[in-house]
């Protein structure tokens, strides 16, 4: 069954639109990539490049939380576990010389994915508040291990991660210089979003959305619902782990804070503020919050209050998040100009 047949709106959108979306998507991705490659030449301030790089890592993490909301309808308060797990696996395997840096990197991405997939088989079946609490508990369990186990990575002091001279044959200095790391992180984010956009249009993506909307009916039609949910968990953890590895590469440092539930909560807030119903919403939310923090400047001590206030205002005034607002405005403008819906 093709994606188009499963999509009830496909007919209404008209055939021309259906054929043109891959073109639009490719164009958007190409423009985004070009902007990324141009950015280091346009932005002179190293401080800004560095801030942007950190913001992009946050954007990747928020995207992973948003994916769970969008494709699974599940709220996770434990996404930092996979973020931190990625960073820790990479750092510990490399520093202890258990694996070559390249292998450590692969393990740091595959490990959390596999763990999340297996966990997903169990916890994805539990809905609502209990699910949120369960993810919180699982996440804190990982945090406690990293916090208590001093021999692993110095417990709560954290551990610095010296990089090898080369990684995948390139000078590893590239990963710690803002101008190159910005391009690397941005390109990865664009590729991720592109992949997620394609997945959302695939039969699998449509199936997960059907399960999100009504799991019982999806089962009636004859689909297994646990496996698709678990696969989404795996993908989401993969993205979170990627963000964790990128942060570890860039900072050269890991600490249990990477796994703490307050980071999970932050990531969730970023996703909700941005609007998880739109693919790029969580990334937008992360971007906005990151620069809100920078604007706060001297008032950093009261930064939590600013985030708290933002999330309260946005959830009340903009239930769809900023991306929902922008998408809504875009659609209205498009209708007025007589364009088809994208």
């Amino acid at each position: 069954m093709s994606a188009a047949e499963l999509d009830p709106l496909a007919g209404a959108r008209g055939t021309s639109m259906r054929n043109r979306w891959p073109f639009h998507l490719a164009l958007a991705a190409a423009v985004a990539l070009a902007v990324g490659f141009a950015a280091p030449h346009l932005i002179a301030s190293v401080l800004w490049l560095s801030l942007l790089t950190q913001a992009i890592v946050d954007m990747i993490l928020a995207t992973s939380v948003g994916l769970l909301v969008r494709q699974n309808g599940r709220i996770s308060f434990g996404q930092a576990a996979f973020f931190g797990l990625g960073g820790y696996l990479f750092a510990v395997l490399m520093v202890r010389e258990i694996a070559s840096p390249e292998l450590a990197l692969a393990a740091a991405l595959i490990g959390p994915t596999a763990i999340a997939f297996l966990l997903g088989l169990v916890i994805a079946r539990i809905p609502g508040v209990a699910h949120a609490m369960l993810t919180l508990a699982v996440g804190q369990a990982f945090y406690e291990v990293a916090f208590k186990w001093r021999e692993l990575a110095n417990g709560d002091d954290g551990m610095s991660v010296p990089l090898p001279r080369t990684l995948f044959g390139v000078d590893s200095g590239l990963f710690q210089s803002p101008s190159s790391m910005l391009v690397i992180c941005w390109s990865l984010l664009v590729v991720l979003l592109l992949g997620l956009a394609l997945m959302a249009r695939s039969p699998f993506g449509q199936l997960t959305e059907a399960i999100r909307e009504n799991e019982e009916r999806a089962r009636f039609i004859g689909y297994g619902t646990t496996l698709p949910r678990a696969v989404i968990y795996g993908i989401s953890a993969f993205i979170a782990a990627l963000a964790g590895v990128l942060q570890t590469l860039y900072d050269g440092y890991i600490s249990p804070e990477m796994l703490h539930w307050s980071l999970s909560g932050m990531a969730l807030i970023m996703a909700i503020v941005g609007g998880p119903k739109v693919l790029w919403g969580p990334a937008l939310g992360a971007f906005l919050l990151f620069f809100l923090e920078d604007l706060a400047g001297d008032a950093t001590e009261y930064w939590p209050a600013l985030v708290g206030g933002t999330v309260i205002l946005v959830t009340i005034l903009l239930p769809q998040g900023f991306a929902g607002l922008i998408a809504g405005l875009g659609r209205r403008a498009g209708d007025r100009l007589g364009w088809g819906r994208p």
Binding site: I123, V129, M133, G308
Partner: protein, 282 residues
């Protein structure tokens, strides 16, 4: 050994005071209140300030009263307007309130740790099982037992209690049957928050006061609520005592794993029974 068990009851009692507030609020509003730990912290600080100016008992009463008012404001100002929203969104809003309250406490009382002395009346020790045991800890056990007893009797024998139990079982049907759940919720959220304030003051002499003091105990009381079963009062009582023991015995006999044990218990219970020991809702 007996002393260890008693210490476990002390911690379990504190957890119960927090967890029962969470259960009350969940029953009416169907949300898990992330701000509860911050309310606990706020109660602690208010009690601390009043106790420093006057005395402990006035601090205890003042904090309970102030936190009850905060709870009523929370319900009227936040939870009621948001009741038509997705409950998970409201949960996020309470997370936002948590962040705001922590900043407020930092602004007023600063980040430095503060400590509070128990009142003179309760500051000595008594001989129990051949060992000295602080009277204040017995007082904590007494307070939580009194609250548990009073609350249970009130819920079981009063008309309001009947309405609250009905709402905790099924809020929608209760509303259809003519119970004004919004008015009830004002009372219930006020009571739950007041209990958070009470446990904050009662716990203050046992721990260091800081703006983030509520976050650890919040997570453990979440575990209590979920293990006991969302919306179940008796389940919360049993689970609080159980977690209290696990917390304390773990710290003595399995120090490397002590903070993990409650999480593992919760994961196990939820996988085995997604509704917890005594709950019927998820």
């Amino acid at each position: 050994m007996m002393i260890q068990l008693l210490n476990g009851v002390v911690y379990g009692g504190l957890l119960y005071l927090l967890a029962v507030g969470l259960v009350l609020i969940f029953g009416l509003r169907e949300i898990v209140n992330f701000a509860h730990g911050a309310l606990f912290m706020l109660g602690s600080y208010i009690g601390f300030s009043i106790a420093a100016a006057f005395d402990f008992w006035l601090g205890l009463a003042g904090a309970c009263l102030a936190m009850t008012l905060v709870g009523i404001a929370l319900d009227a100002g936040v939870l009621r307007p948001l009741r038509k929203h997705d409950h998970m969104v409201t949960v996020l809003v309470t997370f936002g309130i948590l962040l705001v309250l922590e900043s407020v406490a930092t602004a007023i009382w600063g980040k430095a740790y503060r400590s509070m002395q128990p009142p003179e009346l309760l500051s000595g020790t008594v001989e129990l099982f051949g060992q000295p045991f602080p009277v204040y800890r017995l007082f904590v056990i007494g307070v939580s037992l009194c609250v548990a007893g009073g609350l249970t009797a009130w819920l079981r024998y009063s008309r309001t209690g009947l309405y609250i139990r009905a709402s905790s079982t099924d809020p929608r049907t209760t509303a259809i049957l003519g119970v004004d759940t919004d008015r009830l919720s004002l009372l219930v959220v006020g009571l739950g928050t007041g209990l958070a304030g009470l446990s904050g003051v009662v716990a203050a002499p046992l721990m260091a006061l800081s703006p983030t003091m509520g976050s650890f105990i919040l997570i453990e009381s979440f575990i209590v609520v979920v293990v006991g079963g969302l919306g179940s009062f008796s389940g919360a009582f049993a689970a609080a005592l159980l977690i209290g023991q696990i917390h304390n015995l773990g710290a003595v006999y399995l120090p490397w794993a002590s903070t993990m044990l409650p999480f593992l218990l919760m994961i196990g219970v939820l996988i085995w029974r997604p509704t917890g020991f005594a709950g019927k809702r998820t």
